[in-house]
Amino acid sequence: MTAFIAGPNGTADFSDTPLWLSVVKALFIFVYLLVSTLLVIWFERRVIGRMQQRPGPNRNGPFGLLQTLADGMKSMLKEDLKPANADSVVFTLAPLITATMCFVSFSIMPLAGDVTLFGHRTPLQLTDLPVAVLMVLAVAGVGIYGIVLAGWSSGSTYPLMGSLRATAQMVSYEIAMGLSLVSVFLYSGSMATSQIVQAQESLWHFIPACFAFFVYVVTMVGETNRLPFDLAEGEGEIVGGYFTEYSGMRFAMFFLGEYINMFTVAALATTMFLGGWQAPFGLPDNGWWGLLWFTAKLWFFMFVFVWLRGSLPRVRYDQFMRFGWKFLIPTTLLWVVAVAFYVAAKNNWFGGPILQIAGRDYSLAVLIVIGVCASLVIVASWILGDRAERRAAERLPQIPVEVDPFAGGYPVPPLPGQRLVEPGAADDAYAATKEVSRG
């Protein structure tokens, strides 16, 4: 048990890190994120292009790699428009909040283990807090202001509706996101990111916390306003959502914020569930190797973002909210309770005998907790699945079994599950329509 909660305050050792080295690391993270953003915009357009069987941007630079740079330059040269009845201070403040807050969360992400940098031995992580993950959630909470204020200060209806949607969406999905992270805290006994990565040395958390991983992936798409949850932008419904009135560099700042937020939530997913910078299959992950694995996992999530965008349509707003409040939050709460019991049983806080099964030790309490949880899940899925099936059956339109294909005067193919009436009768009906049309 002592090994289980070895360092609740984090294991990163900053004793050999002078202040100037922290500044260098901050600069490194800034550049890393900016370059990643430039690349991911190109990556997204190319991959979406492949999915839609077209080449995507391929003119600027090799493979079109410089396309984002060209777009950025174009944004800088565009006219900076501001609506006449906008609140000018807040209108300027909103993109600044979005574009600055998105960088802050990355300061607690462990990009790699201990590396040697300019002759100093230091973890590749800007800082480590005992409550580091809470900081990410708090910064995300402050980041919402960028979107809310952008919509309000534009002084226009569609942006206001977009920001209303964004607010409701982000506040409600942040609850499910925080709850899904609680089971990781319980497993690793800490909220410090370095300690969470250490705790995944033998087993990455996405296996024992599989349901929390699923919930986190759903909420991270909802939290970053990406398809299929990009209701705040909803081009087909509310023009462009909260940034309808923005142009030029101000718009580019929202764009930058959105992509860096994607990297932030993906980095959190990597750190919390996929073992952070640790390598799979015992490959080397000491020193700078960690950065490679961290980046690879980050880009795996980027691909998932693009993949989702390429394959799913936008959900309806009420469906989205119902899914969040009526499914994600209650089930995640139950999951947290189940994990709490499991961890308590594993630490032998309930007492009870230790059983030997196939040469390994199992506490009886663990087996009882797992058995109770599994049987509850089976019973619940049985009852709820039955009810869902009945409801679906009620909702189906009542299709008559036999149809006359020429009833309306035109030949109509049968719907699935329908049968045509006898050929003779159909012929009669056809003849009748012919006579009618002849007059």
């Binding site: 609140d87 809470l134 909470g141 209303l164 607010t167």
Partner: protein, 170 residues
Amino acid sequence: MTALDLAFLAASVIAVAGGVLAITTRQVVHAALWLVVSLLGVAGAVLILGAELVALVLLLVYVGAVVVLVLFALMLTRAPIGPDTAHAPGLPRALAAGAVGAAVVTMLLSVLIPLAGGWGATVDRQSADSPRVAREIFTTWVWPFELLSLLLLAALIAALAVSRIQRDAP
């Protein structure tokens, strides 16, 4: 005066100035934003005192949720851009509110200054790091804490019930 003292002073000034601007501004949304500035100042002060858990929870709950909900409610009803003079209180009411505010501040100061070691009082100072806060919450204060969450749950369900009644009535 150390660097930490200076930082604490700066955070406190930001908090107080934000609070004053929040109640004097004539624009409703700006008032909410000044409240955010004030809360950020308080969170900064708490952070400097070494209680990072309390500071982050303050950010998470008040800045990230409560004021966002205030803004949400403002936008759902009306959020005019520009000053709102229709709801300006008259001079007598402003003076009365100022007097009440000053009285509360005096009372708080008379309690808090001796507690913080001012006026020659001796205080038994204890650290407030996260493990200690956690231990206190889940041992000494566990029943009040759980009762509080029950109260919040009751409020949530009551709000739902009230909204349901209003929908059924007409």
